[in-house]
């Protein structure tokens, strides 16, 4: 039982004399499973998934149960394996960007940005000011929609339906903005090496401004609904807890790591896109349980909203500035010039037929994605197609900690713990 003092709403059931939420039937087994000894004579094998709504995709868990206590948890993945890394070795760099949409499909724009940054690091390209600001906007919008999906689906898993509707309503507004910008809601393919696929359309900022001014209200409602809710607290506090040392040892990243009290955010520790010049805070958890992961993600949405507001201010200053680098070996010339100017036509032809050619070498670029540290490790041999394109998938590595967290927990907690990892199977399986 967690010993946190939590400010409780009046007249909520399940509170003991000290004001701590009581969670007798849902409690974690005392450790050695003696609590359920009468049921534990025989071990049972339970299969969850791969087609199960609470596994958030095609994840399959095989659980060994003693009574209701999980003795062993064996995850099976790979049902959505598409071989993106292999496919990438047969494609030019800009042709890989559509593949990145489909890895973590809840935050496609952030993946696009990460990939473009990795190739630019490989080439030593310095992108334009306006491009940086637009990419920050893309990343933070992605963080908000990804966390909203997490919030909604986790709420549903634990029996709260209403916040799901709220969060998906908010998410819809960002999707509309994404559609207005890129023409696609999910397969955005927003970036190109050295720049962006397109600048934002006229009047787009007003839409985002309207979102950033009204979104905190929804967050406040979610906060009211969850943060001091006895059922939510009972299902989340002290469940699936990992200490800081365990979290580091398991290579966790993102909100999972920060909830355990480790101060590691790639935006702060290895800044990219001038994140060091934005004013935002990173919330660090204390107990590493599901409740702390919830708090960390909720706060991240607030902070993302702050960053979006700052980025919008910068965008005003950079009105009309170029979004692409001026190197014609990297970026396609405008179509009008390619049709009228001989030199531009040659560059256009070489770009389309051969593609970008980074020098031989290798680079690792980590970015802070909603799920954790997304890393792209690129190896080039000087040709237009990468020798190796490795995705460091945050959900995959975070999911690997599931057996550690589940063993000793109750069967019903497995659903909550799995939800708290925030996996997306497109990225786990790639």
């Amino acid at each position: 039982m967690s010993l946190r003092t939590v400010e409780m709403a009046l007249a909520t059931p399940g509170v003991d004399a000290a004001g701590h939420p009581t969670r007798v039937p849902l409690g974690v087994a005392s450790g050695d499973g003696t609590y359920h000894e009468d049921l534990g004579a025989e071990h049972m094998l339970v299969n969850i998934g791969p087609q199960h709504p609470a596994t958030h995709g095609v994840l399959r868990l095989v659980l060994e149960l003693e009574g209701e206590t999980v003795k062993r948890c064996i995850p099976h993945i790979g049902y959505l394996h598409s071989g993106f890394e292999k496919l990438g070795e047969y494609r030019q760099y800009n042709q890989i960007i559509p593949l990145t949409d489909r890895t973590d499909y809840l935050s496609p724009m952030a993946n696009n940005v990460g990939f473009a940054l990795a190739v630019e690091k490989l080439m030593g390209l310095e992108i334009t000011e306006r491009c940086k600001v637009l990419r920050v906007i893309a990343c933070e919008m992605s963080r908000i929609i990804s966390h909203l999906v997490w919030l909604g689906t986790t709420g549903i898993d634990l029996g709260a339906f209403t916040p799901f509707l709220w969060s998906f309503q908010e998410r819809e507004r960002i999707y509309n903005l994404q559609e207005a910008w890129t023409g696609a809601r999910l397969t955005t393919s927003l970036t190109r090496v050295g720049g962006m696929m397109a600048d934002i359309p006229d009047g787009w900022e007003a839409g985002l401004r309207e979102f950033t001014s009204t979104f905190p209200q929804t967050l406040a409602e979610v906060d009211t609904m969850f943060t001091r809710n006895a059922i939510w607290i009972g299902r989340t506090q002290g469940v699936g807890a990992l200490t800081a040392d365990e979290a580091i040892n398991l290579s966790l990243s993102g909100p999972m790591l920060r909830a355990s009290g480790v101060d590691y955010d790639v935006r702060k520790d290895r800044p990219y896109l001038d994140y060091e010049s934005y004013d935002f805070d990173v919330l660090i958890g204390e107990y590493g349980d599901i409740y702390d992961r919830y708090r960390v993600r909720l706060e991240e949405m607030t902070q993302s909203n702050r960053i979006l507001e700052q980025a919008l201010t910068r965008l005003e200053r950079l009105k009309g500035a170029p979004i692409n680098v001026s190197d014609p070996r990297v970026v396609l010339p405008p179509k009008s010039r390619a049709m009228s100017d001989m030199e531009a036509m040659i560059f256009h032809f070489k770009q389309v037929m051969e593609g970008v050619k980074p020098p031989a070498g290798e680079a690792y670029m980590g970015v802070e994605n909603p799920k954790g540290e997304l890393g792209y490790y690129m190896v080039s041999d000087g040709t237009a197609k990468p020798v190796r394109w490795r995705i460091r998938p945050p959900s995959f590595i975070n999911l690997a900690s599931l057996p550690t967290m589940c063993e000793g927990a109750l069967l019903s907690d497995v659903i909550a713990i799995n939800a708290s990892v925030d996996i997306v199977m497109g990225e786990v399986d790639r």
Binding site: E64, L122, S251, Y364, V387, A400
Partner: protein, 206 residues
């Protein structure tokens, strides 16, 4: 900050000839370590004061297009306290038969699935890993290791063969042998399977 990591000099003085070479690419330092000492080097980097590379960012491998060039196992290390990164590589000669390197599972639990993935995709065996079996491909996958450069994009088997195998697969065989051993079904397994289980055999490795 100079592009060359300050960890290279102490590594060289500590391990001498086990540090094969180092280079800098895109301001990131890469240190090649001999296969026999890779575990020692990684443990030293993790535990020595002043190095403290306590966070294993990633393990992966690279197979180059040049078939003569060795396959490389790549460790991305991060020191959360010192905010420094280091990339350690172990070159494995592909012509020498079995590709083997010591597992770092005992140093970082996070290496569990990462090493399984490298085994699955490249066929590198991690000696000392407690549960080295395929992870993204299914356990009976017989076409080889997909991310090797000698593996064709569409696989070794023809479409017809792939379809035939998929249709012939026993849909009841959802559980691994290990999982069946949990439940009573173990007793109903064929004798030969039970023996293999008792020996602790998994996947392709002995």
């Amino acid at each position: 900050m100079s592009p060359l990591s300050p960890s290279v000099a102490p590594l060289r003085s500590e391990f001498g000839s086990a540090i094969e070479r180092h280079l800098v690419s895109c301001d990131q330092t890469i240190v090649y370590v001999s296969r026999d000492r890779s575990h020692d080097v990684l443990a030293w980097l993790r535990d020595t004061a002043g190095q403290e590379f306590n966070y294993l960012t990633d393990i992966t491998a690279v197979d180059y297009r040049d078939s003569e060039r060795p396959l490389e196992v790549v460790y991305q290390l991060r020191s959360l306290g010192r905010k420094a990164d280091l990339r350690i590589k172990v070159a494995l000669d592909k012509r020498g038969g079995q590709l083997e390197v010591r597992s770092v599972y005992d140093l970082w639990r996070g290496a569990d699935w990462l090493e399984r993935e490298v085994y699955d995709m490249f066929g590198v065996a991690f000696v000392g890993h407690p549960d080295l079996r395929r992870i993204l491909m299914w356990e009976t996958y017989a076409e080889g290791f997909p991310l090797r450069k000698d593996f064709p994009l569409r696989g070794h088997f023809s479409r017809a063969e792939q379809t035939r195998q998929a249709l012939a697969a026993n849909p009841e065989a959802h559980y691994s042998l290990e999982e069946l051993s949990i439940a009573e079904e173990y007793g109903e397994l064929p004798k030969e399977m039970q023996e293999r289980l008792a020996k602790g055999e998994r996947g392709f490795l002995k």
